[in-house]
């Protein structure tokens, strides 16, 4: 199926300003009302972010009214060792947590989609619990749990973040499972059967047929898991200790006292770094894709 909205060209003149081409019935991407609504939503989402970034240049300790332009809070933020450490911790935790969550979530989605087994409704219910549970309840549960079983201390980085990572995975993977499952619902099992008929083993079928199909779900789920982990405050607060502070926890305790532009500066940097990382990842993926084809 040709990419929606781009009529096939068949050696015609290079694509120019497309206003002259009529908008096809399925050409939703070009319809005005859709573009307007997307634009409005993006505006809604970004106005606070932009004010956040603008105010990181504010020369005022309390950061309520504009007081002049300065870069000193960026200096402070970038020199604030504990902030940087917390930042590093957050990214590490988010990355590891996302990987495991996507793995576990994908497996769980496949199981629930493919198999009938006794006790399935309860299993589904149990999988839904991490989504349902109030965060503070889970935070306390993890706190008490790790205390009771005597989780080992004294581990080098990054193992010392393991308690937090475990907690994050526990509450993220059901989200991934749900997203991937929604995607699998539309999978046509005949494709699997065809692959098997052609001699593929179970694992090959999984790898070459199912996983590519699941990919958008995996990507969406992964993004969700990353977001959940990076921004988690409550659960992390209860599972962290002196050497394992994460960015939200650190910011939370800073902000309760003084919403200085330093905090805004740190967030702005976090946003920029995450964009850069994601763009790099996408670019790498594009290159790998081009090389393969």
């Amino acid at each position: 199926m040709a990419a929606i909205g781009i009529p096939s060209r068949n050696g015609a003149a290079p694509r120019r300003w497309r206003r002259s081409e009529p908008i096809g019935p399925l050409d939703y991407g070009r319809r005005l009302w859709l573009r307007l609504s997307v634009g409005a939503v993006l505006l809604f989402l970004y106005v606070p972010i932009i004010t956040l970034m603008a105010f990181s240049f504010n020369d005022s300790r309390r950061n309520i009214v504009w007081n002049g332009f300065t870069l000193k809070y960026y200096e402070k933020a970038l020199n604030n060792d504990s902030l940087l450490l917390a930042f590093g911790n957050s990214l590490t935790i988010a990355l590891i947590s996302t990987i495991f969550s996507v793995l576990l979530g994908a497996l769980a989605a496949v199981v629930l989609w493919r198999f009938h087994f006794p006790g399935k409704p309860s299993y589904e219910g149990a999988m839904a619990l991490p989504i349902v549970i109030p965060e503070i309840c889970m935070g306390v549960a993890m706190l008490v749990f790790f205390a009771r079983i005597g989780w080992p201390a004294n581990m080098p980085w990054p193992l010392n973040l393991s308690a937090i990572i475990i907690a994050h995975i526990s509450f993220s993977f059901p989200f991934v499972a749900m997203v991937v499952r929604a995607r699998l619902v539309n999978f046509n099992r005949e494709l699997e059967e065809a692959a098997k008929d052609l001699g593929a083993s179970e694992w090959q079928t999984f790898r070459d047929v199912l996983i590519p199909f699941m990919r958008p779900g995996l990507v969406a789920g992964g993004l969700l898991a990353f977001t959940l982990s990076l921004d988690d405050f409550v659960i992390t607060f209860f599972t962290s200790g002196p050497d394992t502070v994460t960015f939200p926890v650190k910011v939370y305790s800073m902000v309760r006292f003084s919403v200085t532009p330093e905090v805004n500066a740190a967030s702005a940097v976090l946003i920029v770094v995450t964009i850069a990382l994601t763009v790099a990842a996408m670019w790498l993926q594009n290159r790998a894709g081009k090389r393969n084809s």
Binding site: R62, W151, A153, N154, S240, T244, R256, S258
Partner: protein, 358 residues
Amino acid sequence: MTIHLGRRFGRRSFLAGSGAVAAGLAFGPRFAHAAEEKRLNFYNWDTYIGESTLDDFNGATGIEVKMDLYADNDELFAKLKEGNPGYDVIVPTNDFVERMIEAKMLEEIDHSKIPNKVNLDPNFQDTNFDPGRKHSMPYMWGTIGIGYRKSRVDSVPDSWKWLYDSDRYAGKIALLADGSTCIQMGLKYMGHSLNATDPALIAKVEEMIIRQKPHIKTFAEDNGQDLLLSGEVDLTMEWNGDILQVMAEDDDIGYAVPQEGGLLWQDCLCIPKGAPHPENAHAFINYILDAEAGAAIADFIQYATANQAAKDLLPPEYSENPAIFPPDSVTAKCEASLYLGTDHVRMMDEAWTRILAA
């Protein structure tokens, strides 16, 4: 069957308790005969220490201090309840010092290691919530009162009436989001002690606040001073230090302790049980009580210090600032909050839930 899920002590559970929650201690378990590592884990409120205090301490003793932050006493208590995750010095407020003493969460302070305690203001050498100062050393103290915008009030609002019982400033008032504090100030307004436990009195305060609710803009979660600064409200119940910070940015803001009396709070330095570096902790506390170090801290954070020697070193702009050091006539009416038992806490919480739900 009764299972007690309280905290247990002993070296094994110290390891379990401390390692468990943190999973991140970079120092080993404490052997009685080994020298302490030159580290200190300090758990404190944000910006509640001098600008260079930690570095100066490091320079003087070679001990590296790592400071972590918490935002309110409840968080501190909840974190430490299941075992100390590895902190050496904490800074709870007086009523939480009481709770922690009762719950046996604090180490005893060896006064022989704190020679600088002679620097303390005589009024703070001993106290009723920690007789003999066995578990705490005073750090800073202050009041809760009313921050206001001078140009928008008829006269200095020196009564709780403007926040609790009047629609003069309707829609431009903020109270603290802390339920028990709000109820306590209501009790003060009605002329009772803020430590009253009579349910009938508390019910009356509850009614009063519910009546006043339509005029209250919001219950500010620690940012009342920001609301004042941005003009969202004109009067707010806040800690004096917070208002002082915004007074530095805006001359139109003032602070007053109501005539009926406000809350008198005191933050103390304590050593939680199971602290990995108690020797260093004592040294640190002693250092803070030093005159010069204490003066540097007080000058930076602009709260009232309990350290008389430090206060003497500071200029009158600080030591005679009525917002920092209210005159005796005012403090006479103020009271400190006491911990009055679990039933009382529960009663206050339910009253507050009803107030918010009304």
